[in-house]
Structures are given as C-alpha cells and as structure tokens.
C-alpha cells in the first residue's frame, strides 16, 4: 500500500520536477563529501545552489551528470531521478547528454566556433550541413552570441573574450538538447558586463531547460534564482523559494553566510 502511494507521488511529481535527489551521499574513502542530500529541481526554473567554497557544490554537480562515476575512489549512494527515471539505470554517456554541465572556467575547444558548436551534434550522428547550421544559429542566438560572431564562425574559438567563450560553452552544451543544464559558477572569472549577459541568457533559457546554478555570489542568486538551496559542509541545510529563502533564513549558518560572516 505504501509503495503504491509512493508511486502515485512519483508520477504526480513527474510533471513538475526535472530532477530529484533522494538521500544522495558521496564519499572518497573515509571522507564524506556529500551527506544525505535530498531536494527536487523544478522544471523550467533556475535552482541556485549556494554555499561556501569546499562545501561540495561542484562535486554535487558531477554526481548529477554522472561524471563522478569516472572517479574510481568515489562511493555514491542514494538515488537521483531524472524526469522520474532512475539515473543509475542510465549509462554515463546518456546521463551526461541529458544533464549538461558547464564549468567554472570557459573551456572552448581549440577549434573554430563552428566546430565547437558541431562537436557534440556530430557525435550524435547529425551530418546534414543545413541542420547543423540551423542548430548552431539557434543555440548561439539563445546564448546572445549570434550577432557578435555570425561573421567569424570559422575563426578560432580561443580568440573570443572570456565572456564570449563562456556563452559559447553554454550554447555548446545546449546543442545536444539536455533536459537539465548545470552551471558551475559560470561567472566567477568574468566581468560585470559578461555576468549580466549570461544572467539574461539564463533567464531566456529557463523557458526550455531546467537550470541548476552553483554560485557563491549571493546577489546573483537574488537576481535570477527561482529556488535556492544552501549547502554547508556537504549537507543540505536549507532550501526554499527565492523570496522566502532570502527573507527568512532559519538556520544560523545560512544567516551567517548571507550576511557574509
């Protein structure tokens, strides 16, 4: 009976939660990095993960897109549901495709902008040039980069500025149509203008993708997040919608973090 009820809950949540974490724990040998983390990521919203450096944010992202499986010493337990589907049943490559990840520092591949954009598409078997071009344009437009680079698609991506490189990386991650997009402090190495552009872009992307944004920049979370999750030393301390989270943090540690202590 209980099982049935739980199943009912699952299917009920399927429509709203893009991703759900249940008691997710991770340890390297004896060191516990993530400790029983449970929360759900609503669809078509930006969920910000806040926390001090070293609290496990980046590790959490790597768990979510499966890259942690490539580390042999990492021990993962708990469950991740991707649109109601258990992630552990998916192959790592499949999980990586469905959950895109953009890193802290821009990582343009050492090739032309066009080839950067087609890199993943070609891997998934898209060969038709007009189709490739259409997707390239669509994603670059979404990243707000199209107008800036449309004349120089065959130039090296390394010649772009830092902010442009990061937007290119986000656009590139979107080419393989992930369901959830993870961003690991995407603006930490960028200036304010680039940061603004990326935030605008994320707000636009929200309509099509569910986004998880790791940041230690509180004002950024205030500007664009819909939901906020606060991690502290590998544990989830508090979560809530943006207004309620920032208005009334319940835990001592959360308040200390928000006040910059």
């Amino acid at each position: 009976m209980e099982e049935l009820e739980r199943k009912g809950e699952d299917s009920g949540e399927e429509s709203t939660a893009a991703m759900e974490l249940r008691e997710l724990s991770l340890s390297y040998g004896r060191k516990t990095v993530l400790d029983r983390i449970s929360f759900s990521v609503p669809k078509h919203k930006i969920t910000a993960i806040l926390g001090a450096s070293g609290c496990g944010k980046t590790t959490l992202l790597k768990c979510l897109n499966g890259m942690i499986r490539n580390l042999r010493e990492a021990r993962l337990s708990g469950e991740i549901l991707l649109n109601g589907e258990s992630a552990s049943a998916l192959r790592t490559e499949e999980l990586c495709r469905r959950v895109g990840l953009v890193f802290q520092t821009p990582t343009p591949f050492p090739m032309s902008i066009r080839k950067n954009m087609c890199y993943g598409l070609r891997y998934y078997g898209k060969r038709d040039r007009s189709e490739l071009m259409r997707i390239t344009e669509e994603k670059l437009r979404m990243a707000g980069l199209w107008e800036e680079v449309k004349g120089e698609l065959d130039h090296s991506a390394l010649k772009l500025s830092g902010g442009q490189q990061q937007r290119l990386c986000i656009a590139r991650a979107l080419t393989v149509e992930p369901e959830v997009l993870l961003l690991d402090e995407p603006c930490s190495s960028l200036d304010i203008v680039s940061m603004g552009q990326i935030e605008e872009m994320l707000k636009r992307c929200r309509e099509r993708y569910s986004i998880i944004l790791v940041t230690h920049n509180i004002s950024q979370a205030k500007r664009i997040a819909d939901e906020v999750v606060f991690l502290h030393q590998g544990r989830l301390l508090e979560r809530g919608e943006r207004e309620s989270f920032f208005a009334g943090a319940k835990r001592e540690e959360t308040r200390a973090f928000l006040q910059g202590i």
Partner: protein, 311 residues
C-alpha cells in the same frame, strides 16, 4: 620580524633571515643571499656558455671542413675510387638513411602513439599503467648494439628476411619507440583536463574525444616527435650494422634489399685512413645538415600548429 614568525620559520626548517648569531659573523644575511644569488647566476651563465660554445664549435668545425667537398655531384653520385668513397658521392647513403629512418618511424610511430593514447586516456588500472611504463623504460635502456644483435638473429636469420632495409628499420624502430612514446605521452598530458572534461560532460565517448580533439590538438607535437625520432634513428649505426646497412650498394629498389647508410659510410671512410678523410667530413656535413633541418622543421611545425589556435 616578530618572534612568532621566527619560530614558525624554525619549525618549518627554514633559516630565519634575521637572527642574532648572523649579525656576529660579520656578513649580514641579506648580503650572503645576494652573493649566493650572484654565484648561482655566474655558474649558470658559465655552464650555458660552455655548452653552447662546444656545440657551436663542433658544428661549425665539421661544416667548415666538410663544405669544400659539397657539390651537386657529391650529393647525386655513388661513391667511387680505388679506396671506395675517396671519390664520387654519397647519394645511395642518403637515400638509404632516409629509407631506414622512414621505415623505423612507421614501424615505431604507430605502436608508440597508440601506447601513449592508451596510457593517458583509456588505461584505468594503476598497476597496468605502471607496468607498461616500466617496460617502455626498459626498452629505452637496451644498448643499441644488442638491438642489432637481436634483429640479426631473429629477423635476418630466423625469419629469413635477410639483411635489408626492413630488418634494419625494425631494429631502429625498437630503439626509437620509447622516445616517441614518451614525447607523445607528454603532449597528451599537457592537454588541459578541463577540455577533456567538457567533452565528457557532453556525453561524448573517450574515443570520440581522442579522434576529434586530442589528435588534432596534439598533431604538431606528434609530428615533431616522429621527426625527432627519425633523426635519432638516422644517427644510429649499431642497430643496422648487421641487419641491413652495407658498405656499398645502389639505391635500394625495395625494402627487402640492403642499403647504404650515412653513419656506417662515415665510419668506413674514417676507418680507411687519411685518403678518404676529406669525403668523411663531407658526409658528416650532410648528416648534420639533414638532422638540423629535420629538427628545425619539427620545431617550426609544432609552433605553426600551436599558433593556429592561439591566434
């Protein structure tokens, strides 16, 4: 400096700069460090000067003595004369050497680069990686004459290939395999991990990452490793001494024929005595010129590839 800091310096085993004893010895610590730095720089400059001078002297001496022999005929004719090589040219030795090196690069390059790829991108067992590295290091320690002996007994006698370019090239390839592998591995390891992660994060397989990113990105380094491996092979005599190089032959028509080689020809010219010493310098000139050109080409190509993306 506060006492606390000084104590910490002692704990870490770092000599604190300002202690009472130093003052009593007359030379202030700052000055001592200054003199030490000066000595270090002087020593480095002298060592650098000495090595640059000796290499330059060697090259210029050989180029100087050999340049008088160099002529179009020397480069295009076969050796001639009563004492062979005293007159005529060294053309068959040049083609022979290029063939030996080319064969060796082909035979060694493919397994060397494949091994490096496997070690860096595919091998997940630490034990496996360590043992492969150990084997490769052992190969690099084998004396080249032993490789020659091995190739002679195995390829020339047991397999019946006979003394030919292929046997010699195979012996050389064992010699240059670790050289190419180590350089290729270094090139792969220099690739930023974030790039590889970014490719993995899109769900791309390691094989795709290697094919579409690693190999194109490292192509310059790889080509230069192959060229340098070829240079290394071209200078070696011992592996081909019993396996393929002969004192005189025409241009080989296939890899199953023996050929002349520059280093062996040089050795014979010197061994024959004073009469052929003139052409020996000419041969050395050609060898050094070919090797220098290859190295320059390797460096230039690696730079060109890198520039293309750095902009």
């Amino acid at each position: 400096m506060s006492r606390k800091k000084r104590e910490r310096g002692h704990i870490r085993g770092i000599r604190s700069s300002f202690t009472a004893e130093d003052g009593k010895r007359g030379l202030s610590p700052l000055r001592r460090e200054y003199f030490f730095g000066l000595l270090l720089r002087l020593f480095s400059a002298l060592s650098l000067g000495a090595s640059v001078f000796s290499v330059l002297f060697l090259i210029l001496y050989i180029l100087g003595r050999g340049s008088s022999v160099i002529s179009p005929g020397f480069l295009t004719r076969a050796p001639a004369g009563l004492v062979l090589g005293e007159e005529g040219g060294i053309a068959p030795a040049i083609t022979g050497s290029l063939l030996f090196s080319g064969t060796a690069v082909l035979l060694a390059g493919i397994p060397a680069i494949a091994a490096a790829l496997y070690l860096v991108f595919f091998c997940r067992s630490r034990w496996m990686r360590a043992s492969i590295r150990l084997v490769i290091q052992c190969i690099s320690g084998i004396p080249s004459i032993v490789l020659g002996l091995f190739a002679y007994s195995f390829l020339v006698r047991s397999l019946g290939l006979g003394r030919c370019v292929l046997s010699g090239g195979a012996a050389l390839s064992i010699m240059i395999l670790p050289f190419i592998e180590m350089r290729a591995e270094k090139a792969f390891l220099e690739l930023p991990q974030e790039l590889l992660d970014a490719s993995t994060a899109m769900g791309c397989s390691p094989a795709w990452t290697v094919k579409k990113m690693v190999l194109p990105y490292c192509l310059g380094e790889l080509i230069s490793a192959l060229l340098l491996g070829g240079c290394f092979a071209m200078g070696a005599t011992a592996p081909i001494l019993f396996t393929g190089a002969v004192a005189f032959s025409a241009h080989p028509k296939s890899l199953l024929e023996p050929a002349m080689a520059l280093p062996l020809h040089l050795y014979l010219l010197i061994a024959q005595g004073a009469g052929s010493l003139r052409t020996a310098y000419g041969t050395a000139f050609v060898m050094i010129a070919v090797l220098l050109l290859c190295r320059l080409a390797a460096a230039a190509y690696a730079r060109y590839r890198e520039r293309r993306w750095r902009g």
